[in-house]
Symmetry: C2
Subunit: 138 residues, 2 copies
Amino acid sequence: MKHDVEELLKTHGVKPTPQRMVIAEFLLDTHSHPTADDVFQAVKDKLPVSLSRATVYNTLNALVAKGVIQEVTTEAGRVRYDANMSDHHHFVDIETGTVIDIPAETLNQIKLELGDQYKVRSFHVTIFGEVVSGKSKE
Amino acid sequence: MKHDVEELLKTHGVKPTPQRMVIAEFLLDTHSHPTADDVFQAVKDKLPVSLSRATVYNTLNALVAKGVIQEVTTEAGRVRYDANMSDHHHFVDIETGTVIDIPAETLNQIKLELGDQYKVRSFHVTIFGEVVSGKSKE
DNA sequence: TCTGTATTTAGAATAGTTCTAAACGTGGAC
DNA sequence: GTCCACGTTTAGAACTATTCTAAATACAGA
Ligand SMILES: [Mn+2]
Ligand SMILES: [Mn+2]
Ligand SMILES: [Zn+2]
Ligand SMILES: [Zn+2]
């Protein structure tokens, strides 16, 4: 099999229920960075029972908490989910909103070009960390 | 005066009403990257009339559309507003959520250190542009 | 002054997400 | 094998952020 989803969930401490398996399987099989509703729509008919949105959100939140997937935010107010946990950045096509993975080594020293496949209009570095010294600048 | 808000709005094609002036003034005076509700709370008692949330959203959207301010997204599902239109990135304190401006030249060639004031835990490059060639990777 | 148009307002509507309480399912304890 | 406790799922209510709607208001220009 391409993915041993059951094993993946177990090793991350998530009990592999049918709902969680089918959600994780969908995320592992796509590169589309789907929203919660995208996941719900894609998965709801793959189960013999009706699927609740609450289960989709519970599962996505659990998978994020356990490090199986990550959240990706490319536009204000839309949360997307990503099973690609390798070190990578995101290229957003400003015409379609499509989110494409860019391996970290592709950006070894940030340049304004990414090669000829992508035309960079702008980029934004979001840094997460801690303030060490107390030099307030407000 | 520190800011000629009226002139700023006029030069960007936004008619300077009292509501718009007080909202723009607040944004220009802070480095706190406030949310729409932060703006509403900060500004609502500075006007002789009651202020509607719709006006706050209308104004923020108009100022973004005209390039007077920009939206900043540092955490999933929270839109913040920023009157600093210089070329800069954002440092997010992961303990408090505080958003701090980092001038672009500080990151002349992305390193994992920012100097001793900030300890970088992780960073994410979001790139906006257009796909040129048709080499689909899905 | 009159009037057309832009702006503002309060509240309804919508969208995304979380919460609640009841029903369900299942892996041990016996 | 039966039972039960507990984790999971479900439907729908609740909540939050934002947008929409329709009516009132402001006001620049004729
Ligand atoms: Mn698969
Ligand atoms: Mn000022
Ligand atoms: Zn990705
Ligand atoms: Zn900023």
